[in-house]
Symmetry: D4
Subunit: 250 residues, 8 copies
């Protein structure tokens, strides 16, 4: 039986991977904004793949605030929570509390059911370019990087690449360092309301082929930080999907 | 707003934690068998809490086989997959392949919806005893252990403790080392069919108050190992729940 | 009994923490200047909280000079030592020697008795801002940082924030890096007399909402370093308290 | 001035150290039981020195329970808390809660005031023996051990040596490994009430010249563990002092 | 073009790997004895695969003696060197010196040309058993082990498994620890002549399905060590091949 | 016998090393371009030595693409593969796939047979200069660097130095940092076709005495990256040899 | 007896250290140039102390060239070798070879006999200044730095400070970073003859109170590197002594 | 010139090493007892070589007592100190204090002058055996071990091997583990007088071909430890030399 388990896993995975060496959208990072972006793209029949460097799915969400696994949402995000089947309780004013583990498992489950393909344990090392457009990502096993092995990467082509890696803005930093097409600014200190607004505003195509989302609170745009409130993240992921759907429709 | 986010998270978490300082069942480990056990217990109105040492939920499942995130199930487990809403494809004979990320997110989501409380980032350091019965677990933040800080733990009482920590059999090893009530045997080499059978057989109460599940393939019973096949894990988690329900009913 | 110990500690701590999510003054660093500042503020009925990143209270004081746990004070500080009940011996000229362990335990004990709330093991990750004023700190467990976990922080609001983190000037460096409101200069070489004078002179509000103290000998003002002489530290902590009391009185 | 600071610290420390190369009692470990033992010995005019391997004084006390800096005491310890000037609040039954930082700073301060000499940053590497009696400790800088330098230790003679190193029972382990005079048993699981009782019972002279205290909950006697409750620790430190005073009186 | 490079590598590798999930002989370790064993097996039309945990092929050979990349052979091995096209110079008596880099590259090249399939970067984690016979190996990426990721292994079936891992005797140690079928003895001190003889003598089937080779000088048989002389290694690899060919012929 | 093994290795190695303290060409890096360059130089009777910092020969080649040990070549490189006796299969268009382990072992073996001397485990720490020309390399054991020992290096003189260290461009970076004669640019993102062309174009003498090869895809010239395609590498190594042969002929 | 060993070591060391809290010259670094400088100063009745951060005396000398413990001298240094009683053999031209272990032990022994006081295991953390003159060093245990303890340093006053720390130019870098009085240039590549000349030329007072020696080949002056030839080092140490003797004579 | 420095060092070192691949006595460890043993052997015209694993010569001597670089000797050792030209001061009773740096440099210098060959940076990995006699050592670079490289060792033959590695008793432990000819006992606690006596008593041939010295205070014989007193070490080294001289004379 062991032989067939081995063959089943190798064949199934490779077939799926080979089918995704060329996609419509490659999303980097399986945190809240990346998964929501994938969910809405897949719902609109876009061929989408998510690459996550960690074994774990969910980005910063599972840890809640200082290891207390609860997270906060604003009222305007409730329809999305309802659509994904996530419970919440009203706390005060327009703030609602949800369980972070329920939230991330619901979001992952619904995204996969919509047709999002997620490959974890793969890190983005580089982007593929043609003239002045990003048109793919260059991947390697995260374990190769951590074990400090000298091993070459492989490439996956995509019409659009989404950087949803959060605080690290990994793809944007590669583009800044190697190509100089974008400029990554310093993260600002915490101002939750303003941070949430900036997050939506900053969801956009920052250079040809590269959309960023879920990055108000980070180093890319120099916007204020927000803490364990995730409404803006969800709206940003959704907006990124809408931008790409509009462009692909052209 | 920051102040209210802080208060919302602290208050909500603490209230939930305080409500769970005394429970019917404390499950250690949020991998496949621990979550399934929790799912069936909660479905039967048992007050159950799961403590997971990692930030990540899911144990060894998200990594699939050698980083290819697919896992294999046997035919007899399909009803459970159907109940949890997990997709699968037939591969050969009685083997079916599922996506490991979909599987773990579905299982987590459904368990939480049934009422299972999961607290991650907490490690079991010790058990609570009375005479000759395990009646609780002693917890500390995993981060405290990793940062090598000298900080004392706290205790949670439970009628039954489930060790679902897999290969590490953490709770059983504590009981072996400190109390000598159980004996942890060496893991045997891979023999998938036999391993799956042993896994069900070995799901039982190993000393008063301590049930183990999901451990055929590990060091506790000296049974054969199985690889990336998870049917037995699911059935073992279910059986552990059934054992406890029967005892609580007395 | 274990259950009640758990509940007693969780409830008591959380209640105290929730009462301090909004304070008059948040002091970062429980070394000599931070504790003295807190002592004089609390003595004047100001609601004050101290956050210390280490398990240990006392900053550089317990190590004395090159691990010989004695420290030196100047004559003008003797009234403070007398007020705190710290013994000392005359050495030569205006120099007096005290035991560093006695000094820090006396200072901590007296500060707590005056009503200073100290939360150790918490690190300042960021500040909270409104327009052009610092109005709080963003905290996370030090253990989270050391264990390299991806966990979001929480915020505490304060009318004034005091950076008493010494050589590291942690808060000032965050403000410099993220907001650019202050400029941290290089530490200068040792010149004990001048260092002591500078230390008092440099105790001030460096940008709206942020007071620094205990920093003559460090990277913030480019002043000379002093060694194991602590008179200036004490006077600086006291002066910081006086500045804040004056402003709060307005 | 720098030269005189240097001389003041070197001369004062060395004079004190030389005066303590031969003492009545050498206590290893400046945690709660070691400090209380020292406090009561010094109160009875016994020449006593405490060696602590860390920079920090206080053992496991400052961390409270899972980083929440509160600790619990039983009713019978309140007279000691009152004598030391430590505040507490009633929680339930015979349980009282105190602030861990206040407790340890009060205890340290009062011990020093009674005449206890504390040298921190020094580790016990070995004991001094004569025939069949422990009559001193062999010390080295903790930093030497941590920096893995090849540097020889020095010895301090004492009529009695107290092992108050808690869970590590460092001195007892040296005696077990090198001389075989004692036998260190495995720590048992948590049972708070029994642990507290055992702690007092187990405070005794375990071989000629070596008294242990504060060790019910640890590896030495195989007694149950207790968690963040410190009443027994205090009573054990006091009892150790009483045993020694009685013997010295002979 | 990037897409086709990716597909070419994935498809070609996986096809080859799937063709080798069931083989005649699985050799663990691509050092001198493992490669020679593979070379002679492939020359006899046996389907053989070599798994090597390192990126590097060649075991201890490339380092020569104390980093001087020369190795020594005895006269009786010269025919093998001639067959592989490796140059050598006479040194004294029956000792000949060759370049270690030339030797290992020639041996690898000739083995591959004979049809040996080598997969590097894969570690043996376990063996597959049926009743009382070893019938395969359980593999994982070495990088997974080094990056300490929780990822399950996969299995490859084989009629015979060869442990050619040298000093580490990795497969034999797994069999000893998990199944108790063999016993690994302590390595003995250097005695070069005797070591060379023992090496040939000790090449044999140590339990059903497991042949060891290249192990005279190591922990498995308690034989003397040899140093940078490799004649016995070559003869041992050849003998292991002959044993297997004889058994497969039955 | 041990004594003669020791003497054989020491004498043979040292004799060879002393004969190569002054050479025509010193190549740094035993990856594909360095070895090919050495092969063609030796074929033309040039006295050439290769220094490799690792134990392993072959640079990035043995790891293939993301640990799948296959590599891709373009049609125009087939004559070189044929000359070296390396097998390949046609994949698509002008792309051919070869086994990476066969490729590197064939290349190493043929280079050594042509007379290339390879010393592994030696790192280049510095270059030797005379006025405005590079005329040698300064070497130390890689193990000295890794063990952080304070040990001085030694020098080897050469008419030309080749930097074939790939992504690290180690020699060029030393020359940039210490002498300022060259400028190392940032690596650009992946564009395989362009990268291959640039690689040949960029093979040249970058300052008097220093030739670089195999560096299109790296930090030195700011050219696009290529992935696991190695045709350009081979052609670059060959071109570097041709440049040097031409200059030495003058 | 242990007590008297302890007292003998503490008293003798402290007395010597206290006598050297104010000296004529403080030399940082006990390598060849520092020791020779000290030797000639002491021979001229100057009160001189050497601080060495390592346990080991001798700097880079004991390692010889790539771990072969021989070093090379030029003919003009032979009188110094003769004065110190160091053996040497002629190799070629004006080059002589000596044993590195003999050399450093002879030099250390003769320096101590002349009256040089050496304190090892102490690191220079800072300098003492008065207006625009260096007038002492600030010291801490190296072990404190390595164990990352928070412990304050102490100061020693000196009329002149010598930086003989070699490649690291530790004191000069502190002066550059904190005071900006000097500028440390990049080390140049190897050119042995020129390096030796520069080394003597560069021995001078670089800012008021700070003399550097043994630094031609390092980062301070941007001079060429030399390798395992030590003649210039010896001459530089001697010249530094002569400069200081001349100034003290004024 | 660089080329000749390289050649001078390589040639001189190798010649000396080759001359010492067969010696009368191989001493492992260049601490006080090993060097003294070598000194007296060389004085008697015995061909002797010392292998030291560290860069540093001197063992535990340079660190003095707890980093205070003074050491203590008894009256009976004064003739040896006089012979070696080491200064000392009387402290009390029969105790004398010397400077540890002067002592070790004098001892090294005099040993080398007597003809002792010292090779540092080489570790003993194994011994060479013939039937039931130790007749040599197996060496590797210490840096190879520290860099965890897979590199084979080389052998040196000797009529007698001396284990002077002190607390580590490295050679004896190899013989115990691999051959079982000796048994290493646990170190006992400090008793300085007894320790000194045992040290002399325990200097002997512990199995054919292996003499140990300087080991009373360590794990080999289970004798008491001594601290920073070195008289016994000196006498033990001398006695080991006398034993060997007597045997060689037979």
């Amino acid at each position: 039986m062991e032989k067939f388990i081995t063959q089943a896993i190798l064949e199934t995975y490779l077939k799926e991977f080979l089918e995704h060496t060329e996609v419509d959208v490659a999303i980097c990072g399986a945190g809240p904004s990346g998964l929501l972006c994938g969910y809405y793209l897949a719902k609109n029949k876009v061929k989408v793949v998510v690459f996550e460097r960690h074994l774990k799915i969910g980005g910063g969400m599972p840890g809640g605030g200082i290891m207390f696994n609860k997270i906060v949402f604003q009222k305007e995000v409730l329809p999305i929570l309802d659509e994904l089947g996530i419970d919440y309780n009203h706390y005060k004013d327009n703030l609602y509390v949800a369980n972070s583990i329920e939230t991330i498992s619901a979001l992952t489950y619904k995204a996969v059911k919509q047709g999002v393909k997620i490959f974890n344990l793969l890190s983005v090392e580089d982007v593929v370019i043609r003239e002045k457009k990003i048109c793919g990502v260059v991947l390697n096993w995260t374990a190769v990087e951590q074990a400090k092995l000298h091993v070459d990467p492989l490439a996956v082509l995509a019409k659009y690449v989404v950087d949803a890696t959060g605080h690290d803005c990994e793809v944007a930093k590669i583009v800044e360092k190697k190509l100089g097409w974008v400029s990554v600014k310093g993260e600002q200190s915490m101002w939750a309301e303003v941070g949430e607004d900036k997050l939506i505003e900053n969801t956009k195509e920052v250079c040809p082929g590269l959309i960023v989302c879920g990055m108000a609170a980070n180093a890319f745009f120099g916007s204020p930080r927000m803490g364990a409130i995730f409404g803006g993240m969800f709206l940003s992921g959704k907006k990124a999907a809408e931008i790409i759907i509009a462009r692909l429709a052209k």
